[in-house]
């Protein structure tokens, strides 16, 4: 299992991703920025910290893509289960980081940032089985969708956005769990599309 962890670059890429996430959550806090919306025309206040999960999601994508395909596809060990455990562990750590920042600073969105990691990771995993590495676009596009079309003229976030909801919002937490569960299910059961060999 050590080689699997090392092969997944858990101690380099994932560690850096978690570090970047922690730094982003701690520094960005609940600061907002006015960003242009499509629906309301004028700018809406959007939390900076919405983009904090992206480095960690990208690191996770890079980690999961660092695999010895030929051996893992014919392995007797349950590699996909190990990967699922890795994903869950990263999400749990992200939540823990968010919780720690919340305890230290009282930031009302710190834990939500950890929840958003789980939600966006779920989206990533769902897209990954269909488009491979390009799946990193899924969480990015979701954030852009929230910015462009997620807020009403009054600055209220639509129910589907999930990301801007504060700590402890139950529907958002459920959505994150659902997304992550769906992603893990697809990751564990669907084989990626193969390409023809020239031989």
């Amino acid at each position: 299992m050590w080689w699997w962890l090392k092969g997944r670059r858990a101690f380099s890429v994932l560690a850096w991703g978690l570090g970047a996430f922690a730094a982003a959550v701690a520094v960005l806090g609940d600061a907002t920025v006015e960003l242009p919306s499509i629906l309301s025309g004028s700018a809406n206040p959007v939390l900076f910290v919405l983009m904090a999960p992206i480095p960690l999601c990208a690191a996770l994508e890079l980690s999961l893509g660092s695999r010895l395909a030929e051996a893992e596809e014919t392995a007797t060990r349950r590699v996909r289960a190990l990967d699922a455990g890795l994903v869950l562990g990263v999400c749990a750590l992200a939540l823990a980081v968010g919780g720690a920042v919340h305890l230290l600073t009282g930031d009302t969105y710190a834990v939500a940032a950890g929840r958003n990691v789980a939600f966006l990771t779920g989206l990533l995993l769902c897209a990954r089985v269909f488009v491979g590495q390009a799946a990193i676009a899924a969480p990015v596009l979701w954030i852009f969708a929230v910015i462009f079309a997620g807020f009403s003229r009054g600055g209220h976030a639509a129910f589907w956005t999930v990301l801007p909801e504060p700590n402890g919002d139950l529907p958002a937490a459920l959505a994150a769990c659902l997304a992550l569960a769906s992603g893990l299910l697809l990751h564990g059961t669907v084989r990626p599309t193969e390409t023809p060999s020239p031989n």
């Binding site: 920025v33 309301s40 025309g41 999601c57 990015v140 852009f144 462009f148």
Partner: protein
């Protein structure tokens, strides 16, 4: 490589439908929803372009940066550099990024075209300045992304750049210190009629982004010889630092808004003493405006008001440079549309010798003078909007109407005497100077 193959191989083609759809959505949801068309005669292509581009800059730059990083990573993944290409490195990079540059150009052109078509305006050379700036800055962003993709995994750097650039540019209008705002690449203001961005306000963001692009390119260019490697690294750092400092030096004195160059719309002038100038687009109002100004000056002078007739009256829309002595600058086009030209002349002519004359006395003087000029109703409408803000505003309004009516009942010479005394007494010590 055939054009179709070349385009098909690039991620820019796959992202194009989404990127262009967002431009269209931004146009209808943002520009169309928020834009208030003014006088249709005052259509001015640079203003239209500056307005529609306000929310487009962040999207274009973010797209270019992310695609640059993605394409760079693809070259690395496919081992292109290891092949030892016969084409120069520059040639390979240009071919790889050309679709990205094309997409950026199409995004900008689409937004601008939609706005100009909606306003029924033709593009002018001057109106292409800001789109040109946007395209150049997007090229720089694509090179920055490309350089980042050479050294970092594209799976990480592309999405991070997409969001970071979008956030950074979209939020630029709120930055303090202001110099950050002016080098961000987002021209933060809608141009006024007859205004154009100054060369510095366009050059500064291009210089900043371009310097970063050149610097990062030099830093990430593989060079075999150690000496050249050090030189490239040093040159890269110098380029980034120099460009940033240069851009800062260009904009550091600016306030919230960048300076603009005004008076670029053609003007028509008519009359003599004073010469009255208005935009050529609204020149059909000139005779009426001239007549209002001339008659108001004559009526006020006949009533005993000390009138110093101007040599020239300019519409602010076409005015430029420092105002010459004896020149008035008034918003003639909008004044004429609101039928308040005469009142504006009264405002300009009636001057008090202190900064804060007694409110009631000053208002009485103004009401009387407006009545002389035939614009008493307009003045009263203004006061009916303003006075309710004050505690005893209704009483003051009643007072000034009563007083002005009393003055109107006097013979004209006594009205002139009253006027001179009232102007002086409004600023006398002991009066309620500064009150309503």
């Amino acid at each position: 490589m055939r054009l179709r193959t070349w385009l098909r191989a690039s991620a820019a083609l796959w992202l194009a439908p989404l990127a262009l759809a967002l431009i269209v959505l931004y146009f209808f949801g943002g520009y169309v929803a928020d834009h208030r068309p003014g006088d249709p005669r005052l259509g001015y292509a640079p203003r239209t372009v500056s307005s529609v581009l306000l929310s487009v800059y962040p999207l274009v730059y973010a797209t270019a940066a992310a695609l640059g990083a993605w394409e760079s990573g693809r070259l690395r993944r496919d081992g292109v550099w290891a092949l030892g290409p016969a084409r120069s490195r520059v040639g390979v990079v240009v071919r790889e990024l050309a679709p990205v540059w094309l997409l950026s150009g199409v995004m900008v052109a689409l937004a601008v075209s939609l706005a100009l078509v909606r306003e029924g305006q033709a593009p002018s050379l001057a109106s292409l300045v800001l789109p040109g700036m946007a395209w150049l800055v997007s090229v720089a962003h694509s090179l920055i992304g490309f350089a980042a993709g050479l050294v970092l995994p594209r799976v990480v750097v592309a999405p991070v750049l997409a969001l970071a650039v979008f956030y950074a540019v979209a939020a630029a209008w709120s930055y303090e210190p202001f110099w950050l705002r002016h080098i961000s690449g987002q021209y933060p203001e809608e141009l006024g009629f007859g205004e154009l961005p100054t060369p510095a306000s366009v050059a500064a963001p291009v210089l900043f982004a371009g310097a970063l692009a050149v610097g990062l390119t030099l830093l990430t260019t593989p060079v075999w010889r150690p000496t050249w490697r050090v030189l490239c690294a040093v040159a890269g750092c110098v380029a980034m630092l120099g460009g940033t400092v240069g851009a800062y030096a260009m904009v550091r004195e600016w306030g919230h808004s960048p300076p603009t160059s005004s008076g670029h719309a053609p003007a028509s002038c008519a009359g003599d003493a004073p010469v009255v100038c208005m935009p050529a687009a609204t020149a059909e109002d000139l005779p009426a405006v001239r007549a209002d100004i001339d008659e108001t000056l004559r009526l006020l002078a006949d009533a005993g008001v000390a009138v110093e007739p101007p040599a020239r009256v300019e519409d602010r829309l076409t005015a430029s440079g420092v105002r010459a002595a004896g020149t008035w600058r008034l918003p003639l086009t909008s004044l004429h549309a609101a039928e308040t030209t005469r009142l504006a002349v009264v405002d300009t002519v009636v001057l008090f010798p202190c900064a804060e004359p007694d409110g009631t006395t000053a208002r009485t003087v103004m009401l009387w003078a407006a009545g002389v000029a035939g614009s008493a109703d307009a003045y009263l409408r203004r006061q009916q909007d303003e006075l309710p803000l004050y505690q005893d505003g209704a009483q003051v309004l009643a007072d000034i109407e009563q007083r002005a009516a009393a003055v109107d009942a006097l013979p004209p010479p006594e009205q002139a005497d009253w006027y001179r005394e009232a102007v002086a007494s409004a600023c006398a010590p002991g009066e309620n100077a500064g009150n309503v």
